[in-house]
């Protein structure tokens, strides 16, 4: 029996009374749509679980197993007598972990208070590491105090993103002592990572950034170990799997003599310049100092912006190692090289030049600072007569000069095992054509004769060249680390990385050798460096007073400290087959004789030490000229 139909009782009729049809086709379409959607999802799953399974399994393991590094202590650095120069000290660093799912920015005020870091500094650090992968911890602060450590421990729950790491930190000598030689460590930079030499380094690794620390980083750094630890997503250790112990870095013994280094640093006090002392028998570097200097402890600690700015904006470039990187006109020290060229060419022996305060060449007057009268090779050196050398240069011509200078290592790197050595410049006709696309003018040769013009050299090059001449024409590769301190492979790598002219021998007749060395000895007796005469020591050398501006510019400038010439001096003891050669550069130090005094200080310190050690009293004996072929191993100076 049917009751009156309300529309709800007669569902077959629509509200408007019209018959309705069930949209059957639509329902079929709906089935297909559903199936399609599910198929798409299955494809997504297929991609991940079938195609990508191995990849994701690896990622899952990476999630699960974390390598906690066991840091290897860096090798210490000693001088040649085993005295400690660079050490490590234990310290705690604080890192920020970013692989948590929380918003770190909310915690910054608390972190800033607890770790005593201004908030904007933390933000700068965060920005700096923004591009790095999230699992990489960010170093927030080094050398945290026990208070700060306690803060981190106390807030482990609220601040799980903070982590501490026990590290060893570098301790360098104070006040920038030997800073350029030793260098400093810092985090490896982007550019370095792109260099194949650093292929095995990771971002955040601490590497040497200059000096010995950089050159011998592979030896000093050791190999970090690690512990395989199972963690959950909060980094909480759930267990551990195993560990590999760290291999500590190797200690290094430098060729540096601490006493000689101290004398060199003391001599440079308050000046701008460089001092380098070599043992010409072997090429060992006994001292290497550069001023102004910087404090490497600031770099291995937390480098403040103000200190960094101070260093960068200092016009005298404290970071520059002037021993290997200052390329300046050598002035009269070049005359030794000129003398070798002149004598070996057979020209200088019989040259007699009348010096009347200068001479005219090609229509220009070239001045000499004194009227020397009649000059020959034997007094040209101690008197440092420019007129003589102008004449000699004119006779030899630039290319001959260049040939001898190059054979003595000018215009190329020496190959010292320190980074960023400069090569200086030795001009020649070919050089000028090549670099300036112009022919060489003979007039330019004249100033080259006295070590001005386009010729530039580093203190290291001069020390080696002149020391080599005094050794009879044998030049060694300068080095700061004894070759037997490192393995042959490492040594080869060092030589490859720091390429240069290395070992050299030039022809130098015994007679010429004697002429030059005796003349250099006369320099400190009666010549330009007479004021630096050292009693009881066969001290020889050559001064150099290198103009920093042309005479016209000088006249225009009106004087001032910066217009003073650079004072050079290369000295040695004894005069032949010296045990030590010292090159001094005193920028704007005026006369070369001023630098001679500094060299004398260094040499005196060295000789006194040798005497004390050998416990014998040496008489300053003039060594006889030995048999023609200079020996590779010299006879030590005995009494």
């Amino acid at each position: 029996m049917m009751e009156p139909a309300s529309h709800s009782e007669h569902p077959a009729l629509g509200i408007n009374g019209k018959a309705e049809k069930l949209p059957a086709g639509k329902l079929h379409s709906a089935q297909y749509i559903v199936a399609l959607i599910l198929a798409v999802l299955i494809t997504g799953l297929w991609r991940l679980q079938v195609l990508g399974a191995d990849n994701f399994r690896a990622l899952a393991d990476a999630n699960r197993i974390r390598k906690v590094p066991i840091l290897a202590p860096r090798g210490r650095i000693f001088d040649r007598n085993g005295r400690l120069l660079v050490d490590n000290y234990p310290s705690v660093s604080c890192y920020l972990l970013r692989d948590q799912a929380k918003n770190i920015n909310l915690d910054l005020p608390l972190i800033s208070r607890g770790l005593n870091i201004p908030i904007d500094q933390i933000q700068t650090i965060l920005r700096h590491y923004q591009a790095a992968p999230r699992y990489q911890p960010i170093p927030l602060k080094q050398d945290i105090t026990p208070d700060e450590q306690a803060f981190i421990e106390a807030h482990r729950n609220e601040l799980p993103e903070l982590e501490t790491l026990d590290v060893q930190r570098r301790l360098y000598p104070r006040d920038g002592f030997a800073a350029h030689l030793i260098g400093y460590v810092g985090e490896v930079s982007e550019e370095m990572l792109n260099n194949p030499r650093y292929a095995f380094y990771d971002p955040g690794d601490v590497v040497g950034r200059s000096g010995v620390e950089e050159a011998y980083d592979a030896v000093l750094r050791g190999t970090d170990g690690y512990r395989d630890v199972i963690v959950n997503s909060r980094g909480k250790e759930l267990g551990h799997l195993g560990q590999t112990l760290a291999i500590p870095g190797k200690d290094l013994r430098l060729t540096i003599d601490l006493d000689v280094q101290m004398a060199a640093e003391k001599a440079l006090e308050g000046k701008i310049g460089a001092i380098v002392a070599l043992d010409p028998h072997t090429g060992e570097v006994l001292a290497l100092a550069s001023r102004p200097t910087f404090d490497p402890n600031q770099f291995s600690g937390h480098l403040t912006k103000s200190y960094w700015n101070e260093i960068l904006t200092n016009p005298d470039h404290p970071l520059l190692d002037k021993v290997t990187q200052a390329q300046l006109a050598p002035g009269s020290t070049f005359k030794i090289i000129m003398s070798v060229a002149g004598l070996q060419e057979g020209v200088a022996q019989d040259m007699r030049v009348m010096c009347n305060g200068g001479a005219t060449f090609y229509g220009h007057f070239y001045a000499c600072d004194k009227h020397h009268g009649m000059v020959d090779i034997e007094n040209a050196i101690p008197w440092s007569c420019d007129t003589f050398y102008y004449t000699l240069a004119n006779k030899l011509g630039i290319d001959t000069i260049a040939r001898y200078a190059t054979s003595l290592g000018l215009g190329q790197r020496t190959g010292i095992d320190l980074p960023d050595e400069a090569a200086g410049n030795m001009p020649s006709t070919e050089w000028k054509l090549h670099t300036m696309h112009q022919p060489w003018y003979v007039g330019e040769t004249i100033s080259v004769g006295i070590g001005q013009g386009a010729v530039t050299a580093t203190p290291l090059q001069l020390a080696r060249a002149i020391g080599g001449v005094a050794s009879g024409g044998v030049l060694h590769r300068p080095h700061v680390v004894f070759p037997d301190e490192v393995s042959p492979d490492e040594l080869e790598a060092i030589h490859e990385t720091f390429s240069g002219s290395g070992e050299k021998r030039i022809p130098l007749s015994a007679q010429n050798w004697q002429i030059i060395t005796d003349a250099m000895a006369a320099t400190t007796l009666t010549g330009t460096a007479a004021a630096s005469h050292l009693e009881g020591i066969d001290f020889a050398g050559k001064t150099g007073t290198a103009q920093v501006m042309s005479h016209d510019a000088l006249a225009r400038s009106g004087g001032g400290h910066r217009t003073l010439p650079n004072a050079w001096f290369v000295g040695m003891a004894p005069r032949r087959n010296p045990d030590i050669v010292v090159a001094v550069l005193w920028q704007n130090g005026d006369w070369g004789s001023n630098s001679a005094k500094l060299a004398a200080q260094v040499i005196e310190a060295y000789v006194n030490k040798q005497r004390k050690r050998d416990n014998n009293v040496r008489v300053a004996e003039v060594p006889k000229v030995p048999a023609p072929a200079p020996a590779t191993v010299s006879t030590p100076v005995t009494d």
Partner: protein, 365 residues
């Protein structure tokens, strides 16, 4: 004549599939939470399931036409409750989604889905037999979008999005023409583009969430991290999975919210591609069964109602599993019958109850 409704017509097959999924769900929730501070959630889920089953039976006994009759009122009350939420709702984590009622909290947005399904069904039933005019389409939009925008304002992007499939389904079944649909798509695309650019309608974290699925490493708020962990969990499960309770990502706490949004990821890690296929097969069977019920419904509104349920369910499946496998952004939409959560379970079972309702009355005349 009284409507013949007999529990013989209850869709026991459908219930069977649903129960299998529910059991899987409980087990998975247990595995995902056993070591965490959320342990015991599996018991809660059982509780929700029990209540859901009861409600399902209850609602299947009320003639759905009654529901259609009262839908006006229900709709009105829904709007009012949404207003109440926006004005006096409890603020939790910057969102107003609940209102305090004696005895607890009440989250209207889930219930409104049910109301909307019925309302849309009724609306299109009234238009039956004729072509949809733009005015009709406009009214349909208004019907759904008003509550949707109110929910969006709470803000609850995820839930508001689940209203859309109801509208889409209604339009589709109601006979929208291809041209009309295309125009609507274009307009929506322009609007979304505009809203995105001006940044006014989406909060920054919502924007970040929506884009981070393209590049998971790019997100500050962490949803990129979530997606990444999800992909790792799913992918590392491989073909056979790591075994129940042995998912390292889930157990090691790497997979975030593994008992709700990412429950499928946890499942995939443990049971692999084979397991995932199994679950998807179950969903397939459930949906096909639902559509079959729609086909055999005795009248148009019944069909619309069931298809509305289908639309919501397939939408949620697509968005949730899509998110888990990295095809969709993180939106917080739960996986029906799998994700832990009372609101989701209750909605699903009530919806199923209505489906049963329709099915049980299909022979009445």
């Amino acid at each position: 004549m009284r409507r013949l409704s007999s529990f013989r017509d209850f869709d026991w097959v459908l219930l069977g599939f649903v129960l299998v999924l529910s059991v899987i769900s409980v087990l998975e929730i247990k595995s995902a939470t056993v070591h965490t501070k959320f342990h015991g959630f599996d018991h809660k889920q059982l509780g929700f399931l029990a209540v859901g089953l009861v409600l399902m039976f209850l609602i299947s006994m009320i003639d759905y036409h009654r529901l259609i009759d009262i839908v006006h009122w229900a709709y009105g009350i829904s709007i009012l409750s949404l207003i109440a939420v926006l004005t006096v709702g409890t603020k939790v984590l910057g969102a107003r989604r609940w209102i305090r009622v004696p005895g607890g909290h009440f989250q209207p947005s889930e219930w409104i889905k049910l109301v909307l399904i019925v309302a849309v069904a009724r609306y299109f039933w009234g238009l039956a037999g004729r072509e949809l005019t733009w005015k009709d389409i406009g009214k349909a939009f208004a019907l759904v979008c008003i509550p949707m925008l109110m929910v969006l304002k709470q803000p609850d992007l995820g839930t508001s999005l689940t209203y859309l499939p109801i509208l889409a389904c209604g339009l589709f079944l109601g006979g929208i023409r291809f041209k009309q649909a295309a125009i609507i798509f274009l307009v929506i695309a322009l609007l979304i583009g505009g809203a995105w650019k001006t940044g006014k309608f989406l909060k920054p974290y919502q924007k970040a969430r929506l884009t981070s699925f393209i590049n998971p490493d790019n997100d500050p708020q962490g949803s990129g991290y979530q997606i990444r962990q999800s992909l790792i969990a799913v992918g590392s499960g491989g073909i056979w999975g790591k075994g129940a309770n042995k998912g390292t990502q889930t157990q090691g706490d790497f997979l975030p919210i593994p008992y709700t949004d990412f429950i499928f990821a946890a499942f995939c890690e443990e049971h692999g591609f084979i397991g995932a296929l199994g679950v998807i097969l179950l969903y397939f069977l459930i949906l096909m069964r639902l559509i079959q019920n729609a086909q055999t419904a005795s009248d148009l509104p019944g069909t619309y109602i069931i298809m509305g349920v289908v639309a919501v369910i397939i939408f949620q499946i697509a968005v949730n599993i899509g998110m888990v496998v990295g095809l969709m952004p993180v939106t917080g939409i739960p996986l029906p019958l799998m994700s832990y959560g009372g609101s989701s379970i209750l909605f699903t079972f009530l919806a199923l109850g209505i489906v049963m309702n329709v099915r049980m009355r299909r022979f009445v005349n």
